[in-house]
């Protein structure tokens, strides 16, 4: 029964992880930029939700209505001001730039809000079913993840701009021939990626304490998931998230608790050795 409970918990966390990674994979897919600041945008969202809650009493779930558009705007500003310049540069250049952005965001947060950890106490009742208990906050996080994944899927398959993003991801040169403006698509993808990260921050506020320099942990998690699933593949990101979520939770049953974080990384390395471009990755990339 404990196993079933952990699998359910892992699935729920995995969905959230997957959505976190969706933002990263979208940006990678369109402009081949590895965004090291991804986790810092999560923290920015989390802090926004924290202050909205503390100062105005806005419920963290409601504050997504603010953090998502805020993240979108922030993403577009960062794209236009900085990231745009390195889209065509070698991979390392964008890595270096986003590292700089990450340092800047985390150190500004540190300076403004002090290094103290922040948490809020909003709890939802646990969900009991079939002998399995799922903490209410985790269930809400999973529900959020499902909504975002569904919305993104509809956007990517039904709208012009969504299709344009997919076209550029698959083959940027032929997308160019089809009359798609790659600049606009990149801007949009970066905006959506940051919006997702920032809204994940609101949900994270329901689950744990945050602190200004905690972004790198989310970045690392998103990296691992994205590569596990196959860079640029949204479905792969969700799948990778679920794999990591379930493995992370179930492994603690069989291994010393302190050693469980290694499992995700070891799985990733093994997957890459067997399938050098991830589970859902394109062949021969």
């Amino acid at each position: 029964m404990l196993l079933a409970e952990l699998v359910v918990l892992g699935l729920a966390y995995g969905l959230l992880f997957g959505v976190l990674a969706l933002g990263l994979t979208l940006i990678w897919g369109v402009m081949k930029v590895v965004n090291i600041a991804h986790g810092d945008f999560v923290i920015v969202g989390a802090y926004s939700s924290y202050w909205l809650f503390v100062l105005a009493g806005v419920h963290p779930i409601l504050s997504i209505l603010f953090t998502a558009p805020f993240g979108f705007g922030l993403g577009i500003i960062v794209y236009l001001g900085l990231v745009r310049r390195v889209v065509h540069a070698p991979e390392l250049m964008s890595l270096f730039l986003t590292f700089g952005i990450s340092t800047l965001i985390s150190s500004l947060l540190l300076y403004i809000y002090s290094p103290n950890q922040r948490a809020i106490s909003v709890t939802f009742p646990s969900i009991n079913g079939l002998g399995v208990v799922l903490p209410g906050n985790v269930a809400i996080a999973a529900a959020y993840a499902v909504v975002v994944a569904t919305l993104l899927r509809i956007f990517l398959t039904k709208t012009y701009w969504g299709k344009a993003i997919r076209a550029v991801t698959e083959d940027s040169s032929s997308a160019l021939l089809m009359g798609i403006n790659p600049e606009a698509v990149s801007m949009l993808a970066f905006g959506i990626g940051v919006a997702i990260a920032s809204s994940v921050g609101s949900v994270v506020m329901l689950l744990q304490a945050v602190y200004p320099t905690g972004g790198s942990e989310f970045t690392l998690l998103a990296f691992v998931i994205v590569v596990l699933g196959g860079l640029g593949s949204p479905f792969g990101a969700l799948l990778g998230g679920i794999v990591i979520g379930v493995v992370d939770n179930v492994a603690s049953l069989y291994l010393p608790a302190a050693a469980t974080p290694a499992i995700g990384f070891i799985i990733l390395v093994i997957v890459l050795i067997v399938r050098p471009s991830g589970i859902m990755g394109a062949k021969g990339r």
Binding site: L2, L6, L9, L110, S114, A119, P135, Q208, A257
Partner: protein, 459 residues
Amino acid sequence: MNRNTYKSHTSNSEMLAFGESKARRAISRTAGIGIVVLLLIVALGGAYYYTTTLGSATTSSSSGQTTTTTTTTTPYTGPTKITIGMTMPLSGSLASDGVMSLDGLKMWAASVNASGGIYVKSLNHRLPVQLIYYDDTSTASVVATDYQQLVAQGVNFLVAPYSSGLTLAAAPIAETNHLLLISHGGASDSIWSKGYKYVVGVLSPGSQYAIPVLQMLENQNSSTPLKVAFFFGNDAFSISVKTGALAFINSTSGKFSVVYNQLYDESATSYTAQLSQIQAASPDVVIGGAHFADGETIVKNIQSLGLHFKMVSLLVAPDDPHFLSDLGSLANNVAAPSQWESNLDFTHFSPYYGNITGAQFLSQFQSSFNMPPNYEAAEAYNTGLVLQRAISDSGSLNSTIVRNQLSSENIWTFYGNFQIGPTGIQSGHTMVVMQWQNGAKQTVWPRAVATSPFVYPAP
């Protein structure tokens, strides 16, 4: 345009200098530029250190010369201030602890200087104190270089950075330069097992942390052995707490039985799996924790899983005032071993030193920094008090003399007793146990200082 810039960046044609003199000239030029830049760095660095280290030495000696020739009365030619050097983790993973500690020291320095400084008998002068602090970014290598910088600047005494690991990185520099290093936030017992002479601690070492909690439980008249789950984080400090707790349990013969004993990963997003396993072992009490965020998450997870234990005692997190504001009613009945609580009163002990009580410390800190202090701030302030006492008692700014003076001090401050063992380890100070009761922090152990009875078992 950008594309072109990157092209020229990646064009390392000189790497493949296939015999072309042009390429070779390019290497020469770039190497030349490189060397000039390097020289500039060395020169700038040298100038900086000259002004900060040698510079200060020359100004004091020259001022001495001028005064001796022009005045008739015996002028004061000694140092004009007591300099205390340290690094603190002001950024990085330990930043919140580092900032809190630094604030405690700043508050001490301000109060000393407001009262005119410390009287140094050997100089027959009252000198103000000056804190010199750098950010070590929670990184050991920065500690290593910055303590050398402090030594080079000629500081009189050193205060250790927050945390055991960083203290261990600072210790050899203090030791080889014969400078006193007072540790206020390094609780690992291993610091005092290396044979350092100049490293002194003001706080109870990690091995002592869980003992009052266990003593308190021992007192709760249970006839059968109390079932304990140990659930500590995986870090040096928490492990030393667990080691001390296990040693204590082994010495009590049959009062406790350990039914669960695992370390956890402090960065985990949830501890549900382990908590379920703990529940399966059906312990009476859970003793563990590590830092702030993980402590809060554990309490939240216990609530969301609907688990109930007679007592939950965690390290660090419950002692932080944010614990209540973050968790609200969930905080109730959670206990923690604590180095210090503001409601403790030691004024009836003697010799009492420092003209400040716990309550005064609380209110002064609150008004200076606009937030309530935690025990890290108190430890740091107490570090200042202890140093101040040893300087006035020995009448010297010499680290070796002050270190020897510390060996014979047995004083009380708002933080409790100060007395050190032969290795420099703190032996006088004792831990207390705090517990959240109806939204208020209460000291529940030892009975002599308790502000409220221990709520056990938790309702």
